[in-house]
Structures are given as structure tokens and as C-alpha cells.
Symmetry: C2
């Protein structure tokens, strides 16, 4: 955990764990190293997937590496997570996921039985979502140069006609819809890692969101869904801060509207974690025009992954770039991005 | 190096370095673990890139992770290699490379200056080839759980109309064309790693092959190019064995027709390596109908990456699945795939 403000990147000589957190250090790395070098208008949009055109087809393209520790946890494993994560990045970009790649970096000595279990889990997750894994790669590094297995999945989806989503499109008056409970994935990983005995078992929420997104587009007027994100590393707080910054709007969240399972809440209190920053792997947040909000929430609640969907806040023209939360006691506080990590290697 | 035949995979409990070699162990892992699990017709074609269709567009899709050690070497670095490798997999599949992704797994403590140098090198390679890096990801693992940086690049290309390449399409009477010298990349890496003092400096041949491929298609009759591959891990020998097996044909190679730089030949003799198995990162091998061979070689020689292009062998109906080489002394020997690695972590 690195919650104090570190020196600016120019004076830091090496990579910190927090550079992989999805928080301020990650954003700094992107802004100072990657974006200036790879300068191009697609990347500069800072979405979780690229929108591209080839031969008349409008496509979404995304990549994610998975380094989660431990490899197996309640509710999933690195394999299913790698499939769901990339499917979700395509889905929340407004695309129908079509094809995945899978690339493995294996550590010498890794148990063949564990590899088989992970590969079977990936295959089941891909098959369940109807998205085939069509190309792959395997590298092996010496014992001690890896940590069992790291997996990269890239994905291609087909963008819906006439759908244009962007984190820069939230407008004052829009509402913030959250598809369900917060923090399940992060706490499931943490309890597995630390051998925590929680009251009530916590399972990762890792799941493919593509059919939930299908239903949402069916229920909304054209253009009513401004943007969607899956709040993974950095949690809901980081996701909303990113959208607020890119759209130059404020957001006001109602704590009472957010579902947090009792066991997750208990673990967070025990560990001093804020569930707003804990990772999710089967949830989405959508910024939606208020006139479509009711219809979108209603259809989400009919989907198994959206039964707890709710409007949890609204977009405001006041305090651009700032996200606030109104607590159950009626007070209000600012929800900033963290500098570094609450929980490293969560995905 | 693991040149004796190991036990079949079912009796082996864990991953060996040789499973990442591009040789027989890699093929076994693919056949026994990945293909049965991910079962689908695109993957089953065993090409280095998937041919897919979305919205009427015919695309190639490929992924590669790079774990090369050391990160910097004469003629390139892990960054330029990651860009060239994926561009080349698309190009030899008959596609025009269009978009790349880049995903980094960084080790805590990795020098920011080295990351910047690698990212700048990737950007320069991508820009030189005109293929933008449009989406990315960064993860950080703890000190000791990685080896500085691993990079995955996935790529999307647009397949040429009417071009259908496949390693199963070599036919007796076709010729084998090689674009240039063998072994430069592998020996450059090895000499850097071991601090070898070679007579004459060896630079990696890492380079983007897309414009060479463009020229080859311009020069050949439709359908004359049966298949192309870039002979990376496992070298020319492994590549030809794969094509021979998939096409159920034999191949006869002329040693005297293959260019090997003196310093590479010297290093191979010193180290007991066979240059036929050493990795290349800027070469391609093409199986071409004999009537187009002369025109294809002529146009290749006009390209900076094809000045040493030559017909190095032919496809035969005799001994299907077997590759032989006729030595300078006029004797002939079988060139089998290796079981494991000559040189681990070469790319």
C-alpha cells in the first residue's frame, strides 16, 4: 500500500508495484511513457479497448495480461479470469466479442496438471461465452524467472452499428448505473492468499458480461448509453474518476444505493480496505441518459448478472473531474483515485 | 539442450524449458493440452496466425509473448523484436498488418530508463512499419517473480483478396525459397548472453517482412505462393518439418544454396550448434510453384531484406513428412525436428 504522494515520475528511477494498480501511478506511467511514444489518436482516447476499422468492418481490439496470485481461487482461476476479462473489455466497449488469442508464459517446473486445469477452465469459459480461442503462443522461462504461469488474452469484437461509447461522453443529468455488488473478486483473492477465515464465503464475481450488455442495448434508446466500464483494478472509485476526468463532469454517488455483501464488508473493515477501490471481475458501470435509466435497470435485473442493478448516482456539472459520495449519515466526501495499490496482483 | 527423446507427456509431471522451444516438446504440448481443450477449426489449422472473418472483412489475428534474454542486443531489443515478430506472423500469413496491441509484465524495481528505451524502440519499429499500437496493458509483479520485462504483442491484419496460404498446400514440384542468411538472431543473442568474442560482429536480423511480402505477391501468379513462414524458434529445420508434415510431402534442401555468415558459422562450430535450428527474426521461407520461382526470387533480391534470396530446395512426393539436406560433399541426411531447445529464451 502506498497511499502517500510519491515523487513525480521523472525523479523515480524504477518500477513500483503501484504502477500496476490501475490508480494514479498507472495513469502517470501511461501519460509519461506509453502515450507520448505510441502517439496515435486511437490510443489517445484512453478507452479499455481500441475502436478500429478494417475493410469496412468496425471492430474493437483489446489486450490484457493476467498475473493473479494465487492461480486458483473461489469462483474461478487465472484461466477463466483471462477469458472473462477480455470478453468484458470488448463488451463494455459496445462490441460483440468474436475471437480471442491466448499466450502463456510458463515457469520451468510448473505442474502439468495445473496447466491442464487452467487450460480446461479457459476452454470452458470461452465455450460458455461462444467466443473461440483461435490463436496462441507458449513461452517457457527458467525456474525463478516467473511465477507459475502468466496469461495474455487479446480479443476482437464487432462494434454495433450506430453505437459510439466513450468515457468522454458523460453529461450533467445522466445517471450512474452499477450492475451489482462491489468487492467480491478482490476479497475472494485476498482471503485465499492470506488464508483469512471470513464470516460467509466470498466467491469471485468473475463472469462474462456480454449478454448483459446485449440486453442493455436492446432496452435503451439510441445514444442513451454514453459509456460503460468494468470496474476491475482500482474498483468503482478509479473507474468513475477516469470517466469524470475525461468527460470534465462531476459525479455524486449514493453510498446507500451500493450493494456490498456482508462478508465483503466485514473483510474490508477488518483489513482497512475501502470496497469502492476493491477489484470486480463481473460488474459493469454505465453512464446512461436519465430518460432511459429506468428501462435499462429493469432489463438488467432480469439478467442473472444484473439482479442487483441500480442507479447509484448522477452526473453533475458542478465540481468537474471530482467524484463525491454521500454517506449513509448524509455527509459527503471526495472519492479520489489512489496513488498505488490496495491489493497487488489481483488480476 | 535436451536432444535425447524424453518420456511421453502423460508421464511427465511438469513444464520443461524445451516446451517453449518450437520443437517436438512444443508440438506435443500443443497437441496434448491446448488443441483438445480449445478445439475449433481455426486453431486446428496450426498456422502462426488465425484467418477469421468479421462483418465481411477477412482478417489475420496473431499473438506472441517475448521473453528474450538479454533485453538489449546487437541489432535490436525486446521492444523492436516484439513489434517485428507480430508484424511478420501477419505478413507471412498473407495479410497486411494493420494494428498492434502491447501488454507489459514489469518486475518491481525494473529501471524506468530501460522501460523508456524499450518503449521508444517499439514505437520506432511500429512507426517505421506504419502499424500503430492502439491498445495496451501493464501489470507489475513483485521483485523475483519476473525478469525485468515480458512483452506480449497481438496483431490484426487484413488478408489479401483471393490469397489463401496454408502449410498444408505444398505440392511435389514446388520449390523452397529462403529470403536470406540463417542464424543471425540466435547467435547475436547468444554472443550477448555469454559475452562471446566472435570473429566479426553478428547482429540480429530482426526486421519487418511486410513490404518484402508485398513485393512477392506482386511478382507471383495467383495461387503460386502456397505458404510462407518466418523461421524463428527452432529455425529453418523446424519450419520445414512442420510444412512437410502438414502437407504430407517430402523436402530436399541443398546446403550449398543456404547463406550463413562466416561469424555465425564460426560461432555454431565453436558451440556445437546447427545453424539450421538457430532462430531468425527477419527471414522468411516460402513454398512456391516452380513456374513463379524465378520471378519471385528476382523481385525479392531487389528488396533490402531479400538480397540473398534463393531457391534452396524442392518439394518431393518421396518420403512424405521427411526433410533431407544434401551436403556440400554430396551426401544426404535427414533433418529432423529437435525435441527441445538449442537456445532457450531466444525471443
Amino acid at each position: 500500500m502506498s497511499l502517500v504522494c510519491p515523487a513525480p515520475i521523472a525523479t523515480r528511477g524504477s518500477i513500483l508495484l503501484g504502477h500496476g494498480s490501475g490508480g494514479k501511478l498507472s495513469a502517470e506511467l501511461l501519460r509519461d511513457i506509453f502515450l507520448p511514444a505510441f502517439a496515435n489518436p486511437v490510443l489517445a482516447k484512453l478507452e479499455d479497448q481500441a475502436s478500429i476499422s478494417i475493410g469496412g468492418a468496425r471492430l474493437a481490439f483489446t489486450t490484457d495480461s493476467f498475473v493473479v496470485k494465487p492461480l486458483f481461487f473461489r469462483g474461478g482461476d487465472i484461466g477463466s479470469l483471462a477469458v472473462h476479462g477480455t470478453i468484458n473489455d470488448l463488451a463494455v466497449g459496445g462490441a460483440r466479442p468474436k475471437f480471442l488469442s491466448a499466450a502463456f508464459i510458463l515457469e520451468e517446473g510448473f505442474a502439468m496438471a495445473d496447466l491442464r486445469r487452467i487450460v480446461d477452465s479457459m476452454a470452458a469459459a470461452a465455450s460458455h461465452a461462444g467466443v473461440p480461442i483461435v490463436t496462441g503462443d507458449t513461452k517457457v522461462v527458467e525456474r525463478g524467472a516467473g511465477d507459475g504461469v502468466y496469461i495474455n488474452t487479446a480479443g476482437i469484437g464487432q462494434l454495433r452499428d450506430s453505437v459510439r461509447l466513450s468515457a468522454s461522453m458523460a453529461r450533467p443529468g445522466d445517471v450512474v448505473i452499477l450492475s451489482g455488488s462491489l468487492g467480491d473478486h478482490g476479497i475472494a483473492i485476498l482471503s485465499e492468499r492470506d488464508g483469512l477465515e471470513l464470516e460467509g464465503e466470498v466467491s469471485s464475481d468473475s463472469a462474462p458480461l456480454d449478454t448483459l450488455v446485449d440486453a442493455m442495448f436492446d432496452a435503451s434508446c439510441a445514444g442513451a448509453i454514453r459509456c460503460m466500464r468494468d470496474p476491475t483494478r482500482g474498483g468503482l472509485a478509479s473507474t468513475l474518476n477516469e470517466i469524470a476526468a475525461q468527460s470534465k463532469v462531476g459525479m455524486e454517488i449514493e453510498e446507500s444505493a451500493i450493494v456490498i455483501h456482508d462478508a465483503v464488508r466485514g473483510a474490508c473493515e477488518l483489513l482497512g480496505l475501502d470496497p469502492l477501490y476493491v477489484a470486480n471481475e463481473g460488474k459493469l458501470v454505465a453512464i446512461v441518459a436519465s430518460e432511459s435509466a429506468e428501462a435499462v435497470v429493469a432489463i438488467m435485473r432480469q439478467h442473472p448478472l444484473g439482479t442487483d442493478a441500480a442507479v447509484v448516482g448522477q452526473v453533475t456539472g458542478a465540481h468537474p473531474g471530482i467524484v463525491t459520495i454521500r454517506t449513509a449519515l448524509g455527509t459527503s466526501r471526495i472519492v479520489d483515485m489512489l496513488v498505488g495499490d490496495q491489493l497487488p496482483r489481483i488480476c
